[in-house]
Amino acid sequence: MPRTKLPKVAASKRARENASELDDILRDFDVESENSLQSIRSAHQKNLQDAETEFENFKTELGSNLLMKTMGEIKQMKSLFDSAEKTIHELNMTVKDTTQRPDEGYLTADVGYKTSESECDKSLTQKGRDVSIIAPLRTLKSRRRSQSASNVPISTPGPRSMMTQMKQKTPLPSSHASRSKFRTPAQKPAHQRAASADRIDSIIPKVNPMTPVSILRHPRSGEIAFSVKGSPILTSNIIERTANVNIPIANGVLSVRPENMDPSHLNASLIRKFDNNTITHLHTLKNNLDMLMKAFENRMKS
């Protein structure tokens, strides 16, 4: 008995087509999954790279002086700092704030920054209440009072000077200069107490100035700079209105201003004053500036 002949060719062709279609899908799938796998792998590599860069930057920032210290020594330093911070904390706790004072959340006192190194060390080793933290606070009253009378020369670099070498003043640069000469010694203690009592707020550090790009503000005149974890203020006498770069060199500070510079201003002796650390810093700075400019340009484009 005959039967209907199945179109064998057609059937196998359909199966073949189906199979090849599936093969295509599988191939696509394989390519896609391989791509995804590669992308998570490269993301991981980038993470590792980032961690490495982060550590590298961190080490550069710390400088070789610190890097060569043993952990034992570092811990010793930490305990000194802890005791100093504890004292600051106690000071905040005990002294009540009596005046309402508009404030950005942090007081800034020039304990760590303006005092010379030896003074600072001394203050750190003195455990207890008489840490010289009080000293800069004391100076405030007199500084405030002398503001109107004082004629502290504020030197601004001439507009044409592209690089001005400023001699770095280290120990307490301005407080002596601005201090009133007419102080009655007998009244001193009362003034000191008054100055500390109505000036100290709780200090809440709100910023992290250790990042490569941070926005700082200038101190208000007479303001106490109180550095708890690295102060966000720029303790400079000169109020800059333009973006500029200050590079610490052997005998001062090299200030680069945003004006056209020609090679004649560069001489070998100037370049020799840069040490390796500074060069590394400058490299990082340059990269950061490039990154900033790029981000800015991208924004302008979009």
Partner: protein, 155 residues
């Protein structure tokens, strides 16, 4: 090398910050390892006292079933079955000679900050890699599963 008192206040502050940050976020400090051994079976005169264990990089990783296992904070080697005559450094070396900490063979206080930071970097990278391996394995498993489903559509 400058003495501590020659460092500027800023440098000292930075040092203080590192110690605090690393201490708070990572379990890489000897102090934290010491704290982990709450009910360690060996007392302080013995060779594998808490202090010696922590110095050699171990912290406690035991539980109620397995109460004497300890793990290295760098290589992650877990060792148990400690005896009072065991020297933690020796055991560490014997079982995990490639451990970066074993290769340095100095306790925390004797490492320089740079060495310590290198160690931290190593640990962080290792941690990231371990996390990644897990993620990668799970991802591959999933891909294979989907592929099998796709393949089974064929007749």
């Amino acid at each position: 090398m400058p003495a501590i008192h020659e460092l500027s206040a800023e440098e000292m502050k930075r040092a203080s910050n590192i110690v605090t940050t690393l201490g708070d976020t990572l379990k890489i400090f000897e102090e934290l390892r010491i704290k982990s051994f709450e009910n360690w079976q060996f007392d302080e005169n013995e060779k594998c006292s808490v202090l010696e264990m922590a110095r050699a990089g171990f912290y406690y990783s035991g539980n109620s079933k397995d109460d004497d296992s300890a793990i290295c904070f760098v290589c992650g080697k877990v060792l148990d079955g400690w005896e009072n005559t065991d020297d933690p450094w020796m055991e560490h070396q014997k079982h995990s000679a490639n451990c970066k900490f074993v290769q340095m063979r100095r306790s925390e206080d004797d490492l320089t900050l740079e060495e310590f930071l290198d160690l931290c970097e190593h640990i962080i990278k290792q941690f990231l890699t371990n996390q990644f391996r897990k993620k990668e394995a799970a991802f591959i498993k999933r891909i294979e599963k989907i592929r099998d489903i796709l393949k089974s559509q064929q007749y």
